[in-house]
Amino acid sequence: MTNSSNLPDKQFRRLNPSDQVLLAIDHEIRQDGNAGSNCGFALELKGSLDVESFKQGLLELQRLFPSLSSRLQQRGKTFGWKSIDAPISLIRHHAPESSISEADFKHQSLLSIINHAEPIEYAAPLDFHLIEGTHTSLLVLRWLHPLLDARGAKLVFDCLMSENRQRFTGRDISLVEQRLQNWSWLEKLKVAWLGRQYNAQIDRLDSDLPSQGSVGKQQLQVINQQLSVEQSNAIMANANQTVGMGYKSLYFIGCLMRALQTVGMAVKNDAICVPYAFNLRQPNAPVPLLGNHVSVLFSQAPHGVIADRQQLFQHLREQYAQTIRRGLDYSFLPWMWVGRWMSLEKYGKVLRQQKNGGERGSVWFSDIGEMRFPSEQFFAASITGIRHVCLLTSPPSFAVLFGQFKGELCITYNYLQADIATDWVKQVNSALQDELFALQTEHNQQ
């Protein structure tokens, strides 16, 4: 990585504390032998994309946000994005005239984009890939996670679709640092102490893992489970009935815990622990577009509790309410601030490992909620679906991402092969659907 000590430079955008967490994770993924923290957010499109207008949009985007075309640079202990004043790339992938189906071609292309390895100092932090079929295409926004979070990636699409792109600029601040600034030193120390207690509380139980983990290059594999509007509505009704409308994500987490316990994990310990990020941005806010603005929460349940569906959801709700009541949701912010001065190696271990050296998170989880775009058209093509993928550390080697578009729930399983077998993921998918539909099934049987 370039290590220089230049004077203050407007073309250099320093990583914020939350970005630095993701840089440590990127480092961990690379240490495992994999491609780094590549993420993908894709639009499934019907009809022809107006490529020339889209390229003009990318030029405008790069002018408004120079960091989107940059390279990672280290200056002393500080990391940042150094703008390189080059257009944001649009790479086109055409289906070959061969026996491979269009659907398979799109899927394989998406995987090869995310699995593509490049040293981080040479890697573009963000680019677009248009995977073209005959009547449909997949437009993939690939980015390195330290540049922005999934909400930011969604804002990139919103900005490109907007007639007023200027409204996405401004407020280029770190929401983590802004919140920290509102606290006195005494408050910061108190919150940091809470964070330490929170970790200690979670680490009382060792986490189950779906894989032992391994070092060496692996391939990210992805399975998408798309549900119809009717199925999705039935699941949401179950979620409301089981946990109430304030806890929808907890319904997904609880069902996932039960599915994992039913299918069985490679490493069995005391409990299943599901860490999940929460975003400090205000929902629907167009700013800040750049950067990560997330902290983390944990849902954790021991096996005995998971075995009893009713008890599990009661437990998860109480755990979540206690977490918010005690202010634990913000308790990692001071530690994120301190983490910037740690080496990436040490920081990665602090973030992931329990006291016994095991992995804290049994599985990566995300619920991006209902995706609403300013228009149903994207540069003359109709948006018909979304996809969301991410590379991850080994272990846990397994991530389950929930999202919704036009009322249809989409569950994406991301996993590292060979750590995780495809058959196991299919079993988890089947068990998870049984859990998500459980009330409905009971109702139909009566």
Binding site: R167, G244, G246, Y247, Q282, N284, R317, Y320, I324, R325
Partner: protein, 80 residues
């Protein structure tokens, strides 16, 4: 005790985004404006802490959290 002012401030600074917060009406739809499930939980915790009430989970319905005015009504019912 004035409930609406601190509640409105909390909603518009922490939970939903509005380009011009002053023009956001007290009857406008918060769910349409982006209030999500995590936001609802934060809102409940804020109200319980600030206004010394207990808001039962069983009453967390779209009608209770639909707007600033609906929220104020819901909280006031539990202050009595």
């Amino acid at each position: 005790m004035d409930i609406k002012t601190p509640l409105r401030f909390f909603v518009l600074t922490e939970l939903i985004y509005c380009e011009d917060a002053e023009t956001f009406g007290d009857d406008e739809d918060l769910l349409e404006a982006g209030l999500d499930s995590m936001g609802i939980m934060r809102l409940i915790m804020f109200a319980e802490r600030e206004f010394k009430v207990t808001l039962p989970d069983t009453e967390v319905e779209p009608e209770s959290v639909r707007s600033i005015n609906a929220l104020v009504d819901w909280i006031e019912q539990h202050k009595k």
